[in-house]
Symmetry: C2
Subunit: 518 residues, 2 copies
Amino acid sequence: MIKSPLLFSIVFLFIAFAAAAENTEQWGIFELALKGPTAGDPFTDVHLSARFTNGAHTHTVDGFYDGGGIYRIRFMPEAAGSWRYTTSSNVPSLSGSAGTFTVVPPSFPNDHGPVHVSNTYHFAYADGTPYREIGTTSYSWCHQADALEQQTLQTLAASPFNKIRMCVLPQNEPESRPVLFPFAGSPPTQWDFARFNPAFFQHMENRIGQLRDMGIEADLILFHPYGHQWRFDSMDAAAQDRYLRYVVARFGAYRNVWWSMANEYDLLHNRTEADWDRCFQVVQQSDPYSHLRSIHNGQQIYNNAQPWVTHASIQNGSAVEDPARAELYRDVWRKPVVYDEVQYEGNLPQRWGRLSGQELVHRFWAGTVAGAYVGHGEAITSPDGGIWIGQGGVLRGESPPRLAFLRKILDTSPPGGIDPIDKWQDSDMGGQPGTYYLLYFGHASPSSWTFQLPKSGLADGMRFKVDIIDTWAMTITPVEGEFVTKKKDNYYFADASNRSISLPSKPFLALRIRAQAE
Amino acid sequence: MIKSPLLFSIVFLFIAFAAAAENTEQWGIFELALKGPTAGDPFTDVHLSARFTNGAHTHTVDGFYDGGGIYRIRFMPEAAGSWRYTTSSNVPSLSGSAGTFTVVPPSFPNDHGPVHVSNTYHFAYADGTPYREIGTTSYSWCHQADALEQQTLQTLAASPFNKIRMCVLPQNEPESRPVLFPFAGSPPTQWDFARFNPAFFQHMENRIGQLRDMGIEADLILFHPYGHQWRFDSMDAAAQDRYLRYVVARFGAYRNVWWSMANEYDLLHNRTEADWDRCFQVVQQSDPYSHLRSIHNGQQIYNNAQPWVTHASIQNGSAVEDPARAELYRDVWRKPVVYDEVQYEGNLPQRWGRLSGQELVHRFWAGTVAGAYVGHGEAITSPDGGIWIGQGGVLRGESPPRLAFLRKILDTSPPGGIDPIDKWQDSDMGGQPGTYYLLYFGHASPSSWTFQLPKSGLADGMRFKVDIIDTWAMTITPVEGEFVTKKKDNYYFADASNRSISLPSKPFLALRIRAQAE
């Protein structure tokens, strides 16, 4: 059933050498391909790594067997300049290869690097550019026929989404009928978990690279409970660890990779929390780039205080109905909180798949002003039965244009991120004290608002401009004139002449309040 | 300035011996008093402990110096029967004392033992009796003149409260002018942190014993940021640890003691989180009874996932405005969540001290149906300027009778505790699936309710009775007849004849829905 990966490998080999010769970009991929043994099980018998250094930084990077006698080592350099490498292996012919290569500064759009946590609750690219996440989910888009995958890529290119959550391992049919399988063996259940199928991974890394080139982060879901038909949930601890190391060795050099240890991890009933701790540590130790690491809950939330968790990846739709709920998890973990799953815009009978577009957009805004991030998903059935969160394809919902509108607003929000201004008090307001405020009215339909801001960062005589935002109609209406702060009481500043603003008595309104330059 | 504790000690010595001779009760206190050296600093020079065993259980318990040449060891036996002890000390005359004593079964009201965590999110006494917490706070009630303290005890005796949060160390004046100080030295700031003032601790343990005899748990706040006038916040790590060990040795045998590591711990700016980890571990290692341990936040929440934290002790008024907020912390720590501070019923200008009685009672109900616990506090000024949360005295608010009403309802609630029935969905409802439900309408003013319950624990044909509860008027009105379940859809059961209930269109209503015996 598994096609020979030989042809692919040879093609890739030449590409790889060419790329290396052409000067690798900072945060690009330097790839080394070496000929090695094909006897035995090259996936487990051969250990290969390389030490990369530019003098200031040194990394040891694991290689991997790519089939057809080809072994590869991929490296993402974090700095321009001259690098050198030396390989090590238990196979003498693979050991002691050495060389140097030049890394050139990045070129657009490869100019920001990987995303990391910034300012405790937020994200930024390696070059410091803020990364304001507007993610979506399509679990199995990468296990489809080529035409559908191409369509998904086109949809993504026209969408507001800068992250996609996607499974590495195939799901059950009929939700997703995989074209390729990750292991050697025979479907549905006869797998050799010690032998990988290079073609499967070559396909996926090609897609990851395409996402990267569109500026989309790939939040790779490493395990999930939906593959029982294929028995991928039956991997023992050794197989899990081997799989994780292989995935990290192959995909880790892609700068847009995030590691999501699992979707609904607690539904994988044959694993303990200690197993997940171990899986996290395997990834943490294998990944020289410290890509973002999270784990997504079903009913039970993992202890995101663990040091190997970089941010919380939460399923909880209720928590983003109200900013006062959405902000509570921030304090608990002091890490970014991403509500990756808040139920989906859709027309399914199940309650997780029947949100209106308005309600999903509301949840984005509620999460945003709470200083958190929210994820999109769509479960609107298509003529062929597929849905976006399953197979990808096209988006049919009303929320994506409104999320594009939100993204544009966030593009000009403070680089430090949006935080609660006065947490546990004025939870409908986020921003940065003294400079920038987003006040979100949610389901309320206010007809007016009297200028008032919590005191943090304020003094008398500061000047502000206000915009009325209709988050659903996608309009921004500047309010004429300025507002000038004057201390009102021990908690608030009002406008010096107590100005009010008329509002259109509709739900889903917001205000943007920005300090004017002195 | 510090009075001699000698007279007190001699009196206590005879009481102690008498108590031991009279047969100690299970969960009572066996106390051993030994004559020892008075030279040097007996608090630090002398190490004394005793090993207690009944064959099945063995504990090593630290002793303490009580002044006047008297050293004491207190022990709370967890089982009736014959126990023996042997002392160890670096002072030969204190070492090797041995004896046996008989522990008799407990007598009312000493019949339940200390409170521990039960059923993950709840509490129970050692004998399994559920403990449904309705706590209050009076930080400095135990640092007042005798008449005021007696008044506080009388108030507590007539109140619904079964726990009180109270500081061990005095606060600043004028909020609280302590009668006694915990350390040898001279107020306001000249203290010898290596020498304790036994009279201070004798006084406090007398009060703890009085609380115990009224069935009130003493949640002892070990550190707080409000004592800067006395420089108690200047203890170094060694002084902190010595103080903690002394407190545990003295108070640990009182079965109603809980350890609250600090109030608003994050406002003690000279300590790191690692310092708090260490303090927790000192208490954990010193306390043979594993009394409940928590730490109370200001703006920053401690990592309550740490193994030495038994339950979360939260300050956050916003979180209990809405059950959907209040339940979020439960999943994070999988421990009981006690909202010990949710702002106070009061008439202060500060927003933490100006809740209406209705709003405080609302927060109790919101927290209760979310499967959490809520704490009372009152900040209503008295003619002499004191307030309940500061100095104690009398209660003036409207909430206590309503909390007594709530407590009576909880007295007949399921022993396993109230948990969310369908978390993240129907968050206004708590109870136990299939048997008992509390549905709380909060600020809404419903005129009717159609019988409907989430499916968990239900089957067709189960019979329920419904009571309408007015949480403010303190009335319970049974609804005539029964309701019989019939599956409605994939998520709910309704009444077989789709019965509705008329409601009085007022806020703060609740329904109690109980299964009828087959």
